[in-house]
């Protein structure tokens, strides 16, 4: 096997089931009643069933599918937020998940404090954040708002700050879930530029986007999910054409 075709992500037969009856487990009494009646864990929802694919180093991998197809769910499984009910995921390298920007923000704290908090949530050291702090604030264009509590920020400002922190280190794998739809046009442009820069440096990228044009422009491989199952997997043109013929 040559180095070029090295898999950095291997998704093997992943099935993800959600429990739809969580409130029923709130009390011990109900738990035991259900246990005796053997009703436990019955109401389940399968968001992904038996999904497999590989992503090689340097790939720009697109995921398309309708709402509720399981696109965000597979991204969460890959980034380790969710553990698959069945199957396995093998990852080789560091991941920067742009799934929910600013997930670790504390709304009461200032932008400055949140840079440090969110940075450590992502596993960065405070010393490292010190050296990158100005760069983060510049990219997010928040020079005048560094000491303002982020609860006063607009969603665009939050997205900028979240993106700036999450991409401050060049990761081996970048995961982008429809975040490019928030913020204004200029910011989207800026994000795309930064992502392209990372691609040039060999970062493997997984993109979920509503815009099929964006997928066609950026990706070399695409998977189409439908109701949690793999509908199609292959070259961009092939999959996108098939997908477009259904959506039209």
């Amino acid at each position: 096997m040559n180095i070029m075709s090295k898999n950095v992500i291997e998704v093997n037969n992943v099935t993800m089931r959600f429990n739809m009856s969580k409130e029923n487990l709130d009390s011990l009494k109900e738990y035991f009643i259900k246990l005796v009646k053997r009703q436990l864990f019955f109401e389940q929802f399968t968001a992904l069933s038996n999904v497999s694919f590989n992503i090689e180093k340097g790939d720009v991998f697109g995921i398309v599918g309708f709402n509720g197809a399981g696109k965000s769910t597979i991204l969460k499984v890959i980034s380790g937020i969710l553990q698959p009910s069945e199957g396995s995921v093998k990852i080789d390298g560091t991941i920067a998940p742009l799934i929910e920007l600013g997930a670790g923000f504390d709304m009461e704290l200032t932008a400055r404090e949140n840079v440090y908090l969110n940075g450590t949530v992502l596993g960065l050291s405070p010393d490292f954040i010190d050296t990158k702090y100005d760069e983060i604030i510049d990219f997010a264009e928040l020079q005048d708002f560094q000491d303002v509590a982020v609860k006063n920020f607009s969603s665009g400002m939050l997205a900028r700050l979240g993106f700036a922190i999450a991409t401050v280190v060049t990761p081996d794998i970048l995961i982008v879930d429809e975040i490019l739809s928030v913020g204004d046009f200029l910011f989207q442009q800026k994000c795309e530029n930064r992502i392209s820069e990372m691609m040039k440096n060999g970062t493997t990228v997984i993109i979920v986007s509503h815009s099929i044009e964006q997928i066609e422009k950026l990706c070399n491989k695409v998977i189409w999910l439908e109701k949690g199952k793999v509908k199609m997997l292959g070259e961009t043109k092939e999959v996108c054409d098939a997908y477009k013929s259904v959506t039209k």
């Binding site: 738990y31 937020i81 553990q83 670790g104 908090l117 992502l122 050291s125």
Partner: protein, 258 residues
């Protein structure tokens, strides 16, 4: 195992960050925060001394110190485990959105409770000074019972934080259990005031051993026996083992229940 260590090292900054946030909230935002955390046990000690050594006439030399050491060790265990209970549930918004090793949250609460206990020891030191009680070299062993109690509490905390995700009743039950457990620990009474079978029963209680150990080295210039040390270690390790095993098994599905 190796990846666990690497993972912990990566997230240690987050751990420090969360702890320092808790400390800031408790001690910096109110000037009186630190003063209260010393004054509170001292005032409690006055009340307990009045009630138990004057009214009930327990025959304990230096009752204030006896009580204060007991309540400090107990207070750590009780605060640590009690704050662990909610630790996973209150971190739910974070757990749902980013990958973080989940034990960070109960661990943070335990370390924070430990820091609080260190501050409470200032109160103990004040009473040593006021009562003119001499300290001998055995006091240097103080890290030993502290580490025993820490490990025991960490195990219990991990266990409770994981179980509570599935059974919210524990939130309500644990308060009652803690109260019963406290009366079952000789904090303000001497163990020899009890009938023999009760004494034997209390010797099952790990907290009895941790409290007595601390008193032995601080007040009675005694080095606890090898047997006592073994009992303390076994309780601590069993608790930690059970805590880790249960937590590891349950954490996979936390996200589906929070």
């Amino acid at each position: 195992m190796k990846t666990d260590v690497k993972n912990f090292l990566k997230y240690r900054y987050l751990l420090f960050n969360l702890i320092s946030r808790d400390i800031k909230v408790k001690y910096r935002r109110s000037v009186l925060g630190l003063v209260w955390s010393i004054l509170n046990p001292l005032l409690m000690m006055l009340v307990m001394t009045a009630v138990f050594s004057q009214i009930f006439k327990f025959d304990i030399p230096n009752f204030p110190l006896y009580y204060l050491i007991g309540s400090t060790v107990w207070g750590f265990f009780s605060e640590a485990t009690n704050s662990c209970i909610m630790s996973i549930l209150s971190a739910s918004s974070l757990i749902k959105k980013v990958y973080i090793p989940k034990y960070i949250f109960p661990l943070e609460k335990i370390v924070f409770a430990f820091v609080n206990m260190l501050f409470s020891f200032i109160a103990v030191a004040i009473i040593f000074a006021i009562t003119g009680t001499p300290l001998t070299w055995t006091a240097l062993l103080i890290p030993v019972p502290m580490i025993y109690t820490l490990i025991f509490s960490a195990g219990m905390g991990l266990l409770l934080s994981a179980l509570t995700v599935y059974f919210r009743d524990i939130l309500h039950l644990y308060g009652v259990i803690l109260t019963a457990w406290m009366y079952f620990t000789p904090i303000f009474y001497p163990i020899n005031a009890l009938p023999e079978f009760m004494q034997n029963l209390i010797k099952i209680n790990p907290l009895y051993h941790y409290v007595s150990y601390t008193r032995d080295i601080l007040m009675y210039n005694t080095v606890p026996s090898l047997e006592t040390n073994l009992i303390c270690i076994i309780y601590a390790l069993v608790s930690l083992f059970v805590g880790i095993v249960v937590f590891k098994k349950l954490q996979k599905n936390f996200i589906l229940y929070i």
